[in-house]
Structures are given as C-alpha cells and as structure tokens.
C-alpha cells in the first residue's frame, strides 16, 4: 500500500507527459537553427518561420483551410442549430433516430465516409471539381460538433422564458432572436470553435476529396513530410497550433466557460 501510491503518481505524471510530449517537441523543433531535425538542436533561431512565410504553398494552404473552415462552420452552425432546436423542443418518438443520424458523421470512420462521398459525387457526374465534394465533406464533419454543443446548452434552458415572450406578443422570430439566441450563445460559440478546428485539422475527407489545385493545410503538410525533413514543417505546425490556441483563448475570454 505504501508503495502503491508513489507508483500510481508516477504512472499519472508519465501519462500527462506522454500526452503533451509530441506537441511540445514540434514547437521546440521549429526553433532549431540547423538544416535538419537534429537533436540536440544546433542553436535557436526563427529562420524556419521566415522560410515558411516566404513559401507560397503553405501560406496559400493556411488561407485556403481558414476560408474552407469558415464557410463549413457557417453552414453547420445554421443547420446544426435548427436540428438541435428540433431535437430538444419538438422531437418525440423519433428523438433517438435524430440523435444517431446527426452523430453518424462522427461515428462512421472518416476515411470510409470520404471514399463513399468520392464515389457518390462521381456517380452524379460532379467528381471532385469545384470543391463541392470537399465542402460537403467538411460540413458533414463539423455538423455533429455544432449539434452536440447547441443541444447541451438548449437542454439547460427553460422553455418557459420563450413562452413568456410569446405571451407578451413577440413573434416566433422575435422570441427566437431576442430570447433563445442570447441564451444559447455560449453553446453556439463553443460549437462554432469546435467546428472550425475540426475542419481546419481534418485529414481523411480532405485527402480523398481534394480536387486539382490548392489543397488544405494538413494535406500540404503531409505531402511535404513524406519527402522533406527540414524544421520548416515544424514551423508550419507551430503556427497551426498557435492559431488554435489563440482561437480557444479568445472564445474562452469572451464567452466564459460553460
């Protein structure tokens, strides 16, 4: 018993280190001054960030990913919130079907969904042109996260405030805009942030459905990593980690924790 407690503590601390180690190491590697990812590093420098800033492929990929994630998040927020409203307020017997259906993109293996979408879009004659397939895939991947977060925040709210607004003469739309929407704003924000990050980082869907031309950041990074070993990839990864961190911190400050 005396021995068990320090052993357990050791295991726990190791797991926390294990969780953070690969992420910390990527950030450290990006500061390496050498030409290759050697360890110990040959001095500290920001030169790989400079190289990255001058590399159009990665800059384009970041912008492309951000725009794609913004558009997918916008669509998911609208239809995901509608579905959450239906699920919490109106669904009766079919509630379980709605829930499972909305979570399907999350439950099914992403790579299989991507392949299924690829075939489907070829069968209807569109293929991977115009980024329609890619965009649809990103909306699908982000939808469950909006649905889950908005559902949680709706379930914590009392429907009677809305009914009160309606009794006082507010239209259905006004009641939603002035009462319901402000109440579920934190859920919308969390869902939106989640959706953006998922879309920004997702791999399988983008890998299979990307058309000719520009590709999202994870795909460019993966292609680069297969043949290159410079710390530039680490610099790109660090920037992507920082973007996420900024996004999460800002939303945490603005909307607080649920």
């Amino acid at each position: 018993m005396r021995l068990a407690t320090p052993l357990l503590t050791f295991i726990r601390v190791s797991v926390y280190v294990f969780l953070l180690a690969p992420i910390v190491i990527v950030v450290l590697a990006s500061l390496n001054a050498g030409n290759f990812l050697t360890f110990p590093p040959q001095g500290l420098s920001l030169r790989w960030f400079w190289t990255f800033l001058q590399n159009d492929v990665f800059i384009d990929a970041i912008i492309y990913s951000a725009v794609l994630a913004l558009c997918a998040t916008a669509v998911s927020l609208v239809i995901g919130t509608m579905a959450a409203l239906y699920f919490v307020r109106h669904a009766t017997r079919e509630a379980e079907v709605v829930r499972v259906g909305m979570l399907l993109p999350l439950i099914l293996p992403e790579i299989l969904t991507a392949i299924a979408l690829l075939f489907f879009f070829y069968e209807i004659g569109i293929g991977t042109e115009h980024q329609i397939a890619l965009f649809t895939g990103h909306v699908l991947m982000t939808l469950p996260f909006v649905f889950l977060n908005v559902t949680t925040s709706l379930q914590g709210r009392d429907e009677s405030v809305e009914l009160a607004a309606r009794t006082l003469g507010a239209s259905r739309y006004t009641a939603f805009r002035r009462v319901t929407l402000p109440l579920i704003a934190p859920g919308l924000a969390t869902g939106g942030i989640f959706a953006f990050i998922i879309s920004f980082d997702t791999f399988g869907i983008s890998f299979i459905l990307k058309g000719a031309g520009s590709a999202p950041l994870p795909i460019q990074l993966y292609d680069y990593l297969r043949f290159n070993f410079t710390p530039e990839a680490a610099a790109v990864s660090t920037v992507s980690i920082l973007l996420t961190l900024v996004l999460v911190t800002v939303s945490d400050l603005v909307f607080g924790r649920e």
């Binding site: 018993m1 797991v15 969780l19 579905a83 909306v139 699908l140 980082d201 990074l221 990864s237």
Partner: protein, 279 residues
C-alpha cells in the same frame, strides 16, 4: 400545421445526412460488387472478384489480422494509460480538475498530422530519444522505435487516448462516492474496493471507450502512414492505395467493407464478453 412547421427545422440536416451519408454508403456497397476493368475505375456488370481477390492474395488477406492486432493492442494500451488518469481527474479538487481536463483534451486541438509528425521527431533513428541515448553512450546503433508496430501503436495510443479518458471520466463521475465510503467502512482494502466496486461501476465507460478507440485506430490513415513509413501495412492503407493510386474501385470498396464487417464482429464479441446490455 404546427408539426409541419417544426419539421422544417430538421429538414436541411436530414436531407444532408440522407444524401451525403446514407446514399454514398449504399454506393460503396454496390461498387464492391461491380466488375473490375483496365484503365477505368470499374467495368460493366457485376462480379464477386473484389472479395475473392482479397482472400486469395495473402498480401491483402494478411493485412486484416495485422490491423486487428494493432487495433486491439492500441485499445489495451489506451485503457491501461487512461484509467489512472480518469480516476485522478474524477476525484481531483475542483480547481485542479479543469487544468487536468485541459491537458487531456489539448491533443484533440492539434491536428492528427502534426501529432503524428511529433512522434516521428521523437522516435526516428536520429530522433530525440535515439540521439539522447547515443550521446549518453547507452547505445551504439539506434533502437528501432519507428517504422514498426511499436511506433505505430504508441502513436495511435497517443492520438486516441482522449477518446478513452472521456467516457471513463463520465462513468466515474456519475458514481456515488458514498458507495466507496460504505465499502471502506465495512473494512475493504483499497484494491478490493477498486476490483469489486469502482471498476464494475465504470464498466459502461470502459466499453464505450474501448469500442471508440478500436474503431478509430483500425480506420486511421495518417498515423500508420507517417510513423509506420508505409512499412506497416494496415488494411486501411491498402484500401486507400487501391482506390486512389491503383484506381481499382470495386476491389477497394470490397476491402473497405471486409474491414468494416470484421471490426463489427470484433466489437460484437467484445460486447458479448463484457455482457453489454443492448438497450
């Protein structure tokens, strides 16, 4: 009328899921029975060749047990690592809980490509671990940490660990602390309490965590590709190779479905072994 208006809320999502999930999956099923062809994705008519090709070629057939093995090992490693952490967080003070929760969730905010890349920096032949050991004079030749099952399982366990901690945590937090106090006051040792009370109570979390991690692990692409360096052949890697690089759509679809059905069988056996209630 009221019913009709409210169903407009679910209509866009329902249409999206039906059109872009249900129909495409049916397309995969149909595709797997189509005839193969040279120079184009698939030919005229239907055949079972996609399925027979998989089982006749040992290169493909052997990938299936290999993938299941990697998936099961990853699940086991995740369970062993996640349990002490989930216990720790579940019973930590409120101030610490948020912080520890953040550590567990933070890997999820970093893309899977970046995380796998982090492991290649750590495990490579001239990576952090091998270089450190060599500089300390402990080894002459680099240890084979990457491009093998070991590296792939380690990286997969890292990538999917949060998916094991979260269900465990929700099961443990739902537990009434009075039960363990009762067991303790009745004279049970801490190990006995864990074996007879805590672990059985957390069983639903163990089940859902294991199923989630197993399914995610066997269907992941980036991690085995980067950390395994294409030397560890999982069925998922072969599926993507057949579909994207070789343009063999019926064969690739058949292979994907064989993997999905096998995963389903493993999950069912696991659920039966742990006596899960299907309601």
């Amino acid at each position: 009328m009221k019913r009709l208006r409210s169903s407009l809320l679910i209509a866009p999502s329902a249409a999206l899921i039906f059109l872009f999930i249900v129909l495409p999956y049916i397309t995969v099923l149909v595709m797997s029975f189509r005839a193969p062809a040279e120079g184009q994705p698939y030919g005229e008519g239907f055949s079972l060749e996609g399925y027979t090709h998989f089982f006749n070629e040992s290169y493909y057939a052997m990938s299936l047990p290999q993938t299941m093995f990697l998936g099961l090992l990853t699940t086991l490693v995740c369970l062993v690592l996640a349990y002490p952490v989930a216990l720790h967080i579940a019973f930590a003070s409120k101030r610490w809980r948020g912080f520890l929760y953040g550590i567990v969730l933070s890997p999820l905010l970093v893309g899977i490509v970046v995380r796998s890349y982090g492991w290649t920096i750590l495990l490579g032949n001239s990576g952090v671990i091998n270089s450190t050991l060599r500089n300390m004079g402990l080894i002459q030749k680099p240890l084979p940490l990457m491009y093998n099952d070991f590296g792939v399982v380690l990286a997969l366990a890292h990538v999917f660990l949060p998916f094991m901690v979260l269900p465990l945590l929700s099961a443990l937090q739902a537990m009434d602390p009075a039960i363990t106090q009762a067991a303790r006051s009745l004279g049970a040792s801490r190990f006995t309490i864990f074996r007879r009370v805590t672990f059985p109570v957390s069983m639903p979390g163990v089940q859902s965590g294991c199923i989630l991690v197993f399914v995610l692990a066997i269907s992941s692409y980036v991690t085995p590709a980067l950390v395994g360096g294409m030397r560890v052949k999982t069925t998922t890697l072969l599926v993507v190779d057949a579909l994207i690089d070789q343009f063999q759509w019926p064969f690739g679809s058949a292979m994907a479905l064989i993997l999905a059905v096998s995963a389903g069988i493993v999950v069912l056996i696991f659920a039966r072994l742990t006596r899960m209630k299907w309601t």
